[in-house]
């Protein structure tokens, strides 16, 4: 039977060939599937990047970040650095103002009151100012509560009361951000014309602005100090609003790192903002005679305008014809 012998030969040859094919690549194949050689390693991944991200099969793709130790640095900032920056800025400002008030006292109207007034801020301007100011005070208190409430207020009023208050403070903080932002935008638009820094400001600062000493350097509608406050409100307010919305709408704009960064900018700018506003409130109330009226009734005394904003008064008088409204001495005003 030649056909059987041939069949056996072919079969043996085929087997030998198959064995040869399988034998040749087998050592390298064993290396490829060795899990130790190729597996990802946590320590190595963390060294390469500051976080470990993968793929998840659940719909929430944000949960694909497995590990992100950057939270530790943010925690250090929030619990230590921010409390020093905020406490330092606010208490420091209060201390400076207290020392200033005790040594300098209220900046008086040197020529007394004339009894005649001039419109400084219109009803609309005052409305925008007080809307922004009211929002700011509530936002500042509810914001400071997040940073300083736990060590300072919580031990005094207990867990339940503090949580209840903080919950309402959070709602107020979120909702009042909208009128505050509108206020900042309106302030920016409405007073930009008078707040471009110029040469007069340089001279004003060189002469101490009337804050140091008893000088009365000339100024237009806004002096260099007020321009500073204006730009602090516009830039600071813009920054806190922008970063605040990043935090309020999580993941709309950025991931966790972005939110950590936003919280850092938000809180640092906010505490500096609060310190600056404390100075603003001081000079607008007990710091200077006749200043509050500008935002209160909207009208200031002519003598006040002459002492603090002489160039502005000249402008206003020029617009309404020759200046025949010489400021009266204090005795005349008393009649």
């Amino acid at each position: 039977m030649p056909s059987l012998g041939r069949f056996i030969r072919v079969t043996i040859r085929a087997w030998v060939l198959l064995l040869l094919i399988m034998a040749a690549p087998s050592p390298s194949l064993a290396q490829q599937i060795n899990p130790t050689a190729s597996s990802v390693n946590e320590r190595q991944l963390l060294q390469e990047m500051d976080r470990i991200q993968g793929r998840v099969s659940i719909p929430d793709q944000r949960s694909s970040v497995l590990l992100q130790p950057a939270g530790r640095e943010w925690r250090e900032f929030r619990n230590v650095a921010l409390r020093w920056i905020g406490g330092g800025a606010i208490l420091g400002m209060l201390a400076v103002l207290l020392v200033f008030y005790l040594t300098r006292g209220m900046v008086r109207l040197e020529s007394g009151r004339s009894g005649r007034t001039i419109v400084r801020f219109t009803v609309f301007e005052r409305f925008v100012h007080w809307m922004t100011a009211t929002c700011f005070i509530i936002l500042a208190i509810s914001g400071l509560n997040i940073t300083f409430g736990r060590p300072l207020l919580l031990p005094l009023i207990g867990f339940e009361a503090f949580s209840e208050w903080s919950q309402w403070a959070k709602y107020a903080h979120n909702y009042l951000s909208f009128p505050f932002t509108i206020g900042v935008i309106l302030i920016f638009l409405m007073w930009i014309a008078g707040n471009i820094p110029n040469k007069v400001d340089v001279a004003w600062i060189k002469r101490g602005g009337g804050i140091v000493g008893h000088d009365h350097p000339p100024a237009y509608r806004f002096n260099a100090g007020q321009k500073m406050i204006y730009w602090i409100v516009v830039i600071g307010g813009g920054l806190v609003a922008a970063t605040g919305y990043v935090l309020m709408f999580p993941f709309y704009i950025s991931g966790i790192e972005g939110m950590q960064m936003a919280q850092i900018i938000h809180s640092v700018v906010a505490v500096l903002f609060v310190a600056a506003m404390i100075a603003h409130i001081y000079i607008g109330t007990i710091g200077m005679e006749g200043a509050f009226e500008a935002m209160g009734s909207g009208e200031v005394d002519l003598n006040w305008a002459r002492e603090h904003h002489s160039l502005w008064l000249d402008e206003q008088s020029g617009r309404t014809g020759p200046n025949d409204q010489r400021p009266q001495p204090a005795t005349a005003a008393a009649e």
Binding site: S39, E42, V56, S63, S64, L67, R150, N174, I256
Partner: protein, 198 residues
């Protein structure tokens, strides 16, 4: 008392997501919230590994440190829990957490956050053990019944381990020794500031 920890042996995880499902079912976790998830690293590439991750119940937990209303507490077993009555939903624990554990139900306007929800290590919350209120807010309290977290208990490959930290570390060490490799105790350095030498 034992110091309870989670350990995911990534060399055993087959990404079946049963732990995720078990957790959602056991605690009736609302839609959109995942207390546990499985993340696959290097998906489809050589050396791919899957890790099941939830709250790691950290030592000196960052969430507890940054919480403005101090709503977190650590149990005698080392489990980090929080009170939903005190939580104001500010999101700070989420910024601080290295594991992305805190979750917030979307309630109210904008992206505003409701009360935070996270893995409780199947240990409930501050309410009375096994009470209806506790179940509604935090889910089942298996630990009070002498049971370990369900995710680890029902893991088919015994990749996810839960229990006393020293014991599960020992189990992992023996596994690594026997099979000769291990991709590490994921998250341990960050959560407990220790690693299991392998």
């Amino acid at each position: 008392m034992a110091r309870m920890k989670f350990l995911c042996d990534a060399d055993r995880c087959i990404e079946c997501n049963a732990c995720v499902t078990a957790c959602k079912n056991e605690h009736e976790v609302p839609w959109g919230i995942n207390r546990r998830r499985v993340v696959t690293i290097n998906d489809g590439k050589p050396g791919e590994r899957s890790v099941s991750m939830a709250c790691m119940h950290c030592t000196e937990a960052p969430c507890a440190a940054v919480c403005p209303v101090n709503c977190f507490y650590t149990t005698a077993d080392g489990v980090v829990l929080h009170s939903k009555d005190l939580c104001i939903g500010c999101g700070y624990c989420f910024y601080a957490c290295p594991f992305g554990a805190p979750q917030y139900p979307k309630v109210g306007n904008f992206g505003s956050r409701g009360k935070m929800d996270k893995c409780t290590y199947c240990a409930g919350g501050p309410e009375a053990d096994g009470s209806k209120e506790e179940y509604e807010k935090y889910g089942a309290n298996r630990l009070a019944e002498g049971k370990l977290p369900l995710c680890a208990e029902m893991c088919s490959t015994k990749s996810l381990l839960a229990g006393d930290g020293e014991i599960i570390a020992q189990i992992y060490k023996e596994r690594v020794l026997k099979r000769g490799y291990g991709s590490g105790a994921w998250g341990w350095k960050t959560a407990y500031r220790e690693t299991i030498e392998s």
